[in-house]
Assembly symmetry: C2
Homo-oligomer: 420 residues x 2
């Protein structure tokens, strides 16, 4: 925490002291990057010490995070992060790619990537003695905040549009969060959250708007780096690492980029991986701006079955474009049909992804087919959430099961017809 020295606006580059601001830039509303003092970090810890840590969560990277030791060992709070990287080269070969890995974020406590952001935001909330953490969310971010807050006994309030699926709301309520449904859309819930936080002194977790969300999300980059240094690199001829990330509001890809930049600044990252952002074609505001060659995000009327990345107005678009530009990456858009195929492909190797989670894999397939990546690149695809979050979509990804009479005769007849 001694290394947390301030914020820098991603638009005007103005610096602020830690106590000077809390959320976005007061000058132009730009999202803030957390500034760390890398020389202090390097005095505290070496990369080898991190590799040797026995902490099986994102808290193994505490020296590179802008919060202090949060406590709450032996709770789900200390199980966020440390997600597995699975070898899936069998899948890659079909597309001429030799080294393919999937980092499975569905293994987080509330079954999505968002636990990373919520864990770090909750840690920050405890430090500033916030009574309440509040967020606008219809899905994974809300579940993650509710779950992480419950684990440490922190009060959480979540605003969601009244049209949110009751099944998604149920999880927030089970975690004991106070849920308030708003008779309006996501944007009106988002705005009300900010206003309420300001009025009541609540701490606002809203994605992108709160600089600590990206700080939590960057821990995925730390884990990719640690995996690369201790395992992945060994299997690679050319040390080219390409990371595929699904993109909705742009905060995950921005956070991952920030993580790699931190490591580079520390001198711990040999070469910046290429980051490739994948958006659903029906929700591609960031990809659109990227292809237009500028940073101007024009809202869309989002329409994709990948609900976790279905976003009209991305809240972290500018940094999400830079994550690609500064790493020699690109954006790729995929249709819902390709996303459904990706769910089935990942399922066949034992990974059950929600549509937004499989979107990155759909982007990988397209990239391989279009020559965006090379056969001896090492590819790491991020699955951001569990298929159990959206079983309806899974049902669309597969063919219905046949029905037979419960007899050997019927079974034999069926097997003859289908298997051979």
């Amino acid at each position: 925490m001694g290394s947390f020295v301030g914020y820098r606006c991603s638009i005007c580059n103005k610096d602020y002291a830690p106590d000077e601001v809390q959320y976005s830039c007061p000058h132009d509303g730009g999202n803030l990057d957390v500034i760390l003092d890398y020389s202090t970090i390097k005095k505290t810890v070496t990369s080898q010490q991190i590799f040797q840590s026995t902490e099986a969560s994102l808290w193994r990277y505490l020296p590179i995070l802008p919060v202090g030791e949060p406590g709450f060992k032996d709770t789900p709070f200390h199980r966020a992060g440390d997600t597995p990287v699975f070898a899936t080269s069998g899948l890659g070969k079909e597309f001429g790619i030799q080294k393919l890995w999937v980092k499975d974020e569905s293994r987080n406590p509330t079954a999505s990537f968002k636990d990373r952001a919520s864990a770090v935001v909750v840690a920050r909330a405890r430090e500033i003695l916030a009574e309440v953490v509040v967020t606008a969310s219809t899905g994974n971010a809300g579940a993650a905040l509710a779950g992480m807050a419950a684990a440490v006994g922190q009060k959480a309030i979540i605003f969601a549009p009244r049209t949110a699926p009751p099944a998604k709301i149920a999880q927030l309520l089970v975690f004991g969060a106070q849920v308030i449904l708003v008779d309006g859309n996501y944007d009106s819930a988002f705005d009300l959250t900010i206003e309420a936080a300001s009025e009541f002194g609540w701490y606002c977790r809203n994605t992108g708007y709160n600089p600590f969300t990206a700080e939590g999300k960057k821990t995925a980059a730390f884990e990719i780096w640690e995996w690369w240094e201790t395992a992945g690199k060994k299997f690679s001829d050319n040390h080219n690492l390409v990371v595929f990330v699904s993109v909705g509001d742009g905060n995950i890809i921005s956070g991952i980029h920030k993580g790699f930049k931190d490591l580079q600044a520390l001198g711990w990252l040999e070469r910046m991986p290429r980051i490739i952002g994948v958006q659903a074609a029906g929700s591609a505001a960031i990809a659109n701006a990227y292809f237009m060659g500028n940073e101007k995000i024009i809202p869309v009327a989002a329409n994709t079955l990948a609900d976790s990345i279905s976003v009209d107005f991305p809240r972290d678009g500018v940094r999400a474009i830079r994550a690609i530009r500064e790493t020699n990456g690109t954006y790729i858009t995929v249709e819902d049909e390709e996303i459904l195929k990706a769910i089935a492909a990942l399922g066949k190797v034992g990974i059950f992804a929600e549509p937004a989670g499989a979107t990155s894999y759909a982007g990988f397939v397209k990239a391989a087919q279009n020559g965006v990546i090379y056969s001896n690149d090492t590819i790491l695809v991020l699955n951001t959430g569990s298929g159990l979050k959206d079983v309806k979509a899974a049902m669309q990804a597969v063919q219905e099961a046949p029905i037979i009479e419960p007899s050997m005769e019927a079974l034999k007849h069926f097997l003859e017809r289908t298997n051979g």
Copy 2:
């Protein structure tokens, strides 16, 4: 694997060589216990060596399992087990219990305890070169088999009654399993599975019927023991450990009992923990037999919202009764309403359980209220599955969220009415 020396029938005590039988006792149909040669195991490994293993899965206990090194590192297959034990003493204090822990099996790859059984059965299937693994299941066991089989590229066929919820079937299909719906009930699917396995040389995973399911499930006991020896015991005055387990067909509790018996035979377990089985009152065939004082399981017409333990005819009842008798435990039955309350209680500390998973906690509450356990006992409650598996039940466990206009005025009005 060198320690696997045969089977013993749980009814007639007859022994069989490893190659002599495959499933239940040919003599009386009794479930078979796997016999291990403990002296061979003790020559291979010490408890301290196990504690120092870096393998973060149930495969850290390989020397005490009846299978050889299965391979498939870096796949979900090597992520079964190694589930966290969460400190939840805050919950326990309400009931006068000082030390309460929850072991969260929802953190398994397919989000339930059943991955343990399926991982070990799939390992066995590879060893005997089975082309197909087959099982009857409507839920977690099927998902676990499908997921573990997908992870290693093993063909799986799953029979389910046609009345099974399409959402549960979707997960099996996503994992690439061949699903065949049977126009009949679970029992007819079960019987057809056995007949088909015999006819086609498929390997049958059916719970209890296949001796390797309990061998997989016993790894939870190994983890409880390892946690107890390396952590839990330190917080305990009297070294009394009581384990609460939800019971449906009886195979989980039997497997856990087998695990503790293995450890005792190895001389590694100081004192047998008390095991307390918890059944839903509407599906209590095993508890009924226990209270009648015999081992005669009389089928019931099961009716509980805890679908994963809703069982007319338990397939492992006899051993499930002994697990309690031989450990000075007891059975407890709980109503569906108590199960719903347990879901909400666990949620408040960040653990999202399905009804069957929360049943053990409901049993703990009742035990504490009825003086079945003591205030300075150390209590470990097993949550066997994720709440994401049954969001409908979660919706019943909580109160609906209120709806307000998206304005500060409406918000203030609401907060005044409710919070203050």
